[in-house]
């Protein structure tokens, strides 16, 4: 028995993916046009420098975002796990950015990171005139400001996931390691963290989901700028599909995004299911 809602959501996902795949093979401009036209859109896409900038940015952003979220989330979880007083309050503080929409996050950080308004100006006002922090307006560094804001927003959630994972680790394993003579850092490094493997999987899933779909955040923070230096595929696709009347090209870029997802996700799922079978 297969629930109709599962079928429905599969149809609404895969049906629309199929449709997009087809549109990427047409010359659709403003509105869909169903005349088959071959792979021209892909050729055009690969010829566009902006696409490669966007793709590279996704690599940089995705990689660093996931890395920092993991590192910060895990460290915070471990620290919070040390029988901390007021843990509840701290946890709420780390978690609340998750509640904000990316639009709000982007607006707040845009202001803080703006050299003329925020942090840099503040430091100058305080007398540290040599202080510069102008990544937001530096075409080479702008994408890293997206990382900062993204990490700020999502690392608390990652912390919650890891904390939940840590709370689920079997007590007696840790006791066994203590009796075996391991120190606290060794226990975490050799025993606890390796057993969080399924949590890592869930976290990776959620984070890569956020990274690949990151649209609002970049839009609100840098709008892809300066120039197109912090462009990401989601913005690229949105603009070409809807503002620039190049729906076919947008569809082609969407297909490339999906291909990337599959390329990352399928090996991950395979490793995880295999690991689940033999590892635990």
């Amino acid at each position: 028995m297969l629930s109709p809602t599962i079928i429905a959501s599969l149809v609404f996902v895969y049906g629309f993916i199929a449709l997009t795949a087809y549109l990427s093979l047409t010359e659709s401009r403003m509105m869909p046009n169903f005349e088959f036209a071959g792979f021209g859109q892909y050729e055009r896409l690969f010829d566009l420098e902006r696409w490669w900038v966007a793709a590279a940015n996704l690599g940089i952003f995705g990689g660093l975002f996931i890395l920092f979220c993991l590192a910060i989330g895990l460290s915070m979880a471990i620290l919070l796990d040390q029988r901390i007083r007021h843990e509840g309050a701290l946890r709420a503080i780390y978690l609340y950015p998750m509640a904000l929409s990316f639009i709000v996050t982007g607006a707040a950080w845009k202001w803080i990171l703006n050299p003329g308004l925020g942090l840099e100006k503040m430091m100058h006002d305080w007398g540290f005139t040599n202080f510069t922090f102008d990544w937001l307006v530096d075409p080479d560094m702008a994408i890293y400001t997206v990382v900062i804001a993204g990490v700020w927003q999502s690392s608390g959630f990652v912390m919650a996931l890891f904390l939940a994972g840590l709370r689920g680790v079997d007590d007696s394993i840790i006791k066994a390691a203590m009796v075996d003579g391991a120190s606290l850092p060794t226990i975490y490094r050799r025993i606890v963290i390796p057993s969080l493997r399924p949590v890592f999987f869930s976290v990776l899933l959620v984070l890569s989901h956020i990274a690949i779909k990151s649209f609002d955040l970049v839009m609100a923070l840098t709008a892809g700028g300066p120039g197109t230096s912090s462009d990401v595929p989601a913005i690229f696709m949105y603009q070409f599909s809807f503002t620039r009347g190049q729906l076919g090209l947008g569809a082609a870029s969407a297909m490339m995004m999906l291909a990337t997802v599959l390329a990352v996700l399928v090996p991950l799922m395979y490793l995880e299911t295999k690991g689940a079978r033999h590892g635990r």
């Binding site: 079997d170 066994a176 009796v179 391991a182 025993i191 033999h278 590892g279």
Partner: protein, 374 residues
């Protein structure tokens, strides 16, 4: 190897639960101490305190000559086997065993040698490269054991290490542990709530109840001369039978059992002077199933030609042929009795059987204090 001494140890958990109420236990170097007792009586708590995994509220724990109250676990030189195995799930069997060695900076080559030796002892050389998830319960148990014996600690702690095994494997592992103890001459503290394990493994048994040691002695001592009703009922499987009656002066001294208007007399041979003091008073008689047997076997087995056990006709409720013996559950004067008969006695549910009560092995308790008399 080292002796272990526990002096007036108390444990109050932070939430105020007063779990251990002054425990005193002493064992010598190389002895095998068993902690038994009902669920929640504080066995694991005591073990964890010895291991350094719980703080000591009051009192003193000594391993060898050293007071270890404030020594962290890793410096106590102990090895522990946990009830739930507590194998490191992400490591192979080999890594599980060598983890503690690596941390103690044992050279690689030596580690390997030790792992191989341990694996051979426990017959699991072929399992060394598997992860715990790929092992059966018994195999996991052996790995947990291997992890402990790979090191050469002053003290081994076992927390119900066999409770998750099926009966067959349990018997095998029991023998293995016993052998280990003999071979290594190790000092061992072993928690269990299985009386058979308690009886067969230990040099010394401490029977605990609600954070208090009820009796501390050798297995045979505890089996034959339980200090009180609780210990008597707890040790031995099936449990000892208890009968409430009065001591009367017939056939020397007899135990008189009244049921409705009938009275059954069970003469007591070799009554101690302490027991004689209770003449006329109510006492509780404790008698083990193997001392209530079919009359025929009793006669054959009797060593003392002079003494003839009392024989009584009882109604059989259920029989349990276990193979070598048949357990018979029957009603005797309003009390359910468990008896151990020879299969050839052929008791049938619903039928009757003539049971012989061998009171030379019986014990008596004060119904008020529940302490043993004599």
């Amino acid at each position: 190897m080292a002796s272990l001494s526990i002096r007036n140890v108390r444990k109050v958990y932070p939430n105020g639960a007063d779990i251990l109420k002054g425990i005193d236990l002493d064992i010598e170097d190389g002895q095998f101490l068993i902690l038994v007792g009902g669920s929640g009586c504080g066995k694991s708590t005591l073990l964890n305190m010895i291991a350094g995994l719980e703080t000591v509220t009051e009192g003193e724990i000594r391993i060898g000559e050293r007071v270890v109250n404030h020594v962290p676990p890793k410096e106590r030189d102990i090895a522990m086997v946990f009830q739930s195995y507590a194998l490191y799930p992400t490591m192979t069997v080999r890594e599980n065993i060598s983890f503690g060695l690596g941390i103690r900076k044992v050279p690689k080559a030596e580690q390997e040698q030790i792992v191989n030796r341990v694996a051979e002892t426990l017959q699991m050389t072929h399992l060394l490269d598997r992860k715990p998830a790929m092992l059966s319960g018994g195999q996991r148990q052996r790995v947990a054991m291997g992890r402990a014996i790979a090191r050469d600690p002053a003290l081994f702690l076992f927390d119900e290490p066999l409770s998750n095994l099926d009966a067959k494997l349990r018997v095998e592992m029991r023998a293995e542990i016993k052998l280990l103890h003999q071979r290594l001459g190790a000092t061992i503290v072993y928690v269990t709530h299985d009386q058979i394990e308690a009886m067969t493994l230990g040099d010394r048994i401490a029977v605990m109840r609600d954070g208090v040691v009820q009796q501390f002695g050798s297995p045979q001592e505890i089996y034959d001369n339980p200090a009180n009703l609780y210990v008597a009922g707890f040790i031995g499987s099936p449990s000892m039978n208890f009968l409430r009656g009065r001591l009367v002066a017939e056939h020397g001294l007899s135990f008189a059992l009244e049921h409705g208007d009938r009275t059954t007399l069970l003469p007591i041979p070799d009554a101690t002077p302490a027991l004689r003091q209770w003449l006329g008073k109510e006492v509780i008689l404790g008698i083990r199933p193997e001392h209530v047997t079919d009359a025929d076997s009793a006669r054959r087995a009797s060593t003392d030609a002079a003494y003839h056990p009392t024989e009584v006709d009882c109604r059989v409720e259920i029989t349990e042929p276990t193979g070598p013996d048949t357990l018979v559950f029957s009603w005797f004067n309003g009390t359910r009795m468990t008896c151990r008969t020879h299969p050839r006695a052929n008791a049938q549910p619903g039928g009757n059987v003539k049971l012989a009560f061998d009171l030379s092995k019986a014990v008596f308790f004060d119904p008020q204090s529940e302490l043993r008399i004599g």
